[in-house]
């Protein structure tokens, strides 16, 4: 409103003596805030430039082949990004496979089923999960979850699927406890509150009138959710999923603890693997030689590019969903 007002040729009231010195301050303040705004943009561009510069020696040495090469040998300085990229993709996929239905279920429970009095305590408890630092998840995964998986869950899985063609290869090998599956599981717990809170927000945008009308003609809670709320929130839900995927792709500490840190692509989900972020976290301080450091920088650049695309798509979808209902996501 103010911007419109100031563009009109109206006589501004004269400044009182107490505010005379504000005129210079006014200009300066505007300039300072504008500079800070531009600085935020510069930061993002700066991150990209620094990563590209750091990664350049690796791409110069290995070329585009770097992306599809699965060897990682610091001794002969031969590096390829395929194993970490594969691990990042698979762990995030497992995480979303588990967290997406769970998160939507919790969001539906909170918005449609739960008594109003319980809604706030439950949503706060779920959001506590988001507040716990990722390194705590890593410790918990390594010392509490992994032994349970190793001693009870994984042997059962291996025994259960040993005869099933296809799945037997996916769940083969000795039960290490740590590995790709465990990393996916921890990631699922970590992104669950994010999915839940964004999904709750977009479910809440479904107009009450529509829901009341559906209940009025005798629809059940599930039918109201399935045929009124969900179609209304579809774009927002996809946005929430992508936002969570972006978070899972870049998560570092929790994964480093439980993924096993082995540079190989294994067909079995129980085998140890690695991810882009875990590789960087483990090896960067020990990377001697220009090529080794550059290869890790190149991994970081790939990770940044992937998450950038996923997060940008998520924000655009959520923006679109918000515009439909006139709300900011």
């Amino acid at each position: 409103m103010l911007a419109m007002a100031s563009s009109l040729p109206v006589a501004r009231p004269a400044l009182g003596p107490a505010f005379r010195h504000w005129r210079a301050f006014d200009c300066g303040f505007r300039l300072v805030t504008l500079t800070a705004t531009v600085a935020v943009l510069v930061l993002l561009v700066g991150i990209m430039i620094a990563l590209i510069k750091g990664a350049a020696p690796a791409f110069a040495a290995f070329g585009p082949h770097f992306l599809v090469d699965s060897s990682w040998n610091p001794v002969i300085e031969k590096f390829g990004a395929l194993a970490p990229i594969y691990g990042t993709a698979v762990t995030s996929f497992i995480a979303m496979l588990i967290a997406a239905p769970l998160g939507l279920g919790i969001a539906m429970f909170l918005t449609e089923i739960c008594p109003t009095r319980l809604r706030r305590p439950i949503s706060i408890a779920i959001e506590l999960l988001a507040g716990i630092p990722s390194i705590i998840y890593g410790m918990w995964g390594l010392f509490v979850l992994a032994p349970v998986l190793q001693n009870t869950v994984q042997p059962v899985l291996i025994g259960l699927f040993a005869r099933v063609p296809g799945l037997s290869a996916l769940l083969a090998g000795p039960p290490y406890g740590i590995g790709v599956l465990t990393a996916g599981l921890i990631l699922a717990i970590m992104v669950l509150p994010l999915i839940t809170s964004v999904a709750c927000d977009v479910f809440a945008t479904a107009p009450a009138v529509l829901k009341e009308a559906a209940y009025g003609v005798g629809a059940t809670t599930w039918e109201v959710f399935r045929h009124v709320v969900l179609p209304y929130a579809r774009v927002g839900v996809i946005g929430a999923m992508m936002l969570a995927t972006g978070r899972a792709l870049g998560e570092t500490m929790a994964v480093t603890f439980v993924v096993g840190n082995a540079h190989r692509i294994s067909g079995s989900l129980l085998a140890p693997g690695t991810t882009i972020s875990a590789t960087i976290a483990n090896e960067f301080t020990e990377a001697v030689g220009e090529r080794y450091g550059a290869a890790l920088m190149a991994l970081a650049l790939i990770l940044f590019a992937i998450t950038f695309v996923v997060l940008a798509a998520a924000r655009l979808l959520l923006l679109h969903a918000g515009q439909q209902t006139g709300q900011r996501p």
Binding site: M1, L2, S6, R12, P13, A14, F19, F25, D26, G28, F29, R30, T33, A36, T37, A39, V40, L43, L44, A50, L51, L102, G105, I106, F109, I113, C114, I122, A125, E127, L128, I132, P133, S134, I135, I136, M139, W140, L142, F143, V144, L192, T220, T221, W222, G250, T252, M253, S277, A281, F284, T285, M297, A300, L303, F304, F308, L311, A312, R315
Partner: protein, 279 residues
């Protein structure tokens, strides 16, 4: 009637699956907190706060890590908050109708969820590598980069909640734009902005990845931010993955301290925000 019963049955299944999902989510929270309490409580003693991190096999505390974490967090907030508030002020006040606002808001939201390990590598490239050594300053800069987008987002949201008639009334009284913002809008949005800063502190106090290549770690107490500095998350990472029982016990205690601090910050921020919305 038969179809109605089938619909009711399907509804009952859906509702119980959702309730089950919620119970599972709540169960996870409880399991993690219980494990932290069980493993971390026994090591909680005064020595944790008064003694240095020990060599393997000896008893000790986490004093240097706690001091390092506090110093780097404080500097990061001191660097990141003014920048974030200034940028948010432009977005919500001066540039509210401009094109720059959409662009910056979009990229700020991406920065908000960008992998923190990439931020650590960025600071390594521009600060650590050119200067030739790890330092507490570099660690604080990396953390400040995480503070900025959080503060920008919350401050802008809070400024936009301030009703325009308030600004118009102040402008009509002859207040210059800068005075309208600093004396009226900031004051009206103050508690909300404070909430944002508290949430940013909660976010960075558990961050490990951006510190590993910037502040590194330090076995001894150091208040010199120009040299490598210990931090709670970095010490937890090192100790938890070590084979020594004493170190692992200290890691659990450190994990408990961080979690309690983060949860306390979250609860405080939430209480402030809800007390404000009730007014």
């Amino acid at each position: 009637m038969k179809r109605y019963r089938a619909r009711r049955r399907r509804n009952a299944v859906a509702v119980s699956v959702c309730a089950g999902a919620t119970l599972l989510g709540l169960g996870w929270v409880i399991l993690i907190l219980l494990a932290l309490l069980r493993e971390g409580r026994s090591g909680m003693s005064l020595a944790v706060f008064t003694e240095m991190t020990p060599p393997p096999g000896a008893a000790g505390g986490l004093l240097n890590a706690i001091v390092g974490s506090l110093m780097m967090t404080a500097l990061a907030v001191a660097l990141g908050t003014p920048l974030g508030i200034a940028a948010a002020t432009y977005l919500a006040e001066y540039g509210r109708h401009g094109r720059l606002r959409h662009v910056v808001r979009f990229f700020n939201d991406i920065l908000l969820s960008a992998p923190s390990i990439v931020i650590g590598l960025f600071i390594y490239e521009i600060l650590v590598a050119p200067l030739g050594h790890f330092s507490g300053y570099a660690g604080a800069c990396a953390l400040a980069l995480i503070v900025v987008p959080v503060v920008v987002r919350t401050t802008e949201d809070m400024l936009l909640l301030v009703p325009d008639p308030l600004r118009e009334a102040a402008a009509a009284l002859g207040l210059p734009r800068a005075a309208v913002i600093t004396r009226i809008a900031y004051r009206a949005a103050g508690t909300g902005m404070l909430t944002g800063v508290l949430l940013a502190i909660a976010r960075i106090s558990g961050e490990t990845a951006p510190l590993m290549f910037t502040a590194l770690n330090n076995q001894f107490i150091s208040v010199d931010m120009g040299s490598p500095m210990a931090s709670l998350p970095a010490v937890i990472f090192q100790f938890a993955l070590s084979p020594y029982k004493e170190w692992q016990a200290l890691a659990w205690t450190g994990a408990l301290i961080i979690t309690l601090a983060v949860l306390a910050l979250n609860v405080t921020a939430r209480t402030i925000a809800s007390a404000r919305s009730r007014k």
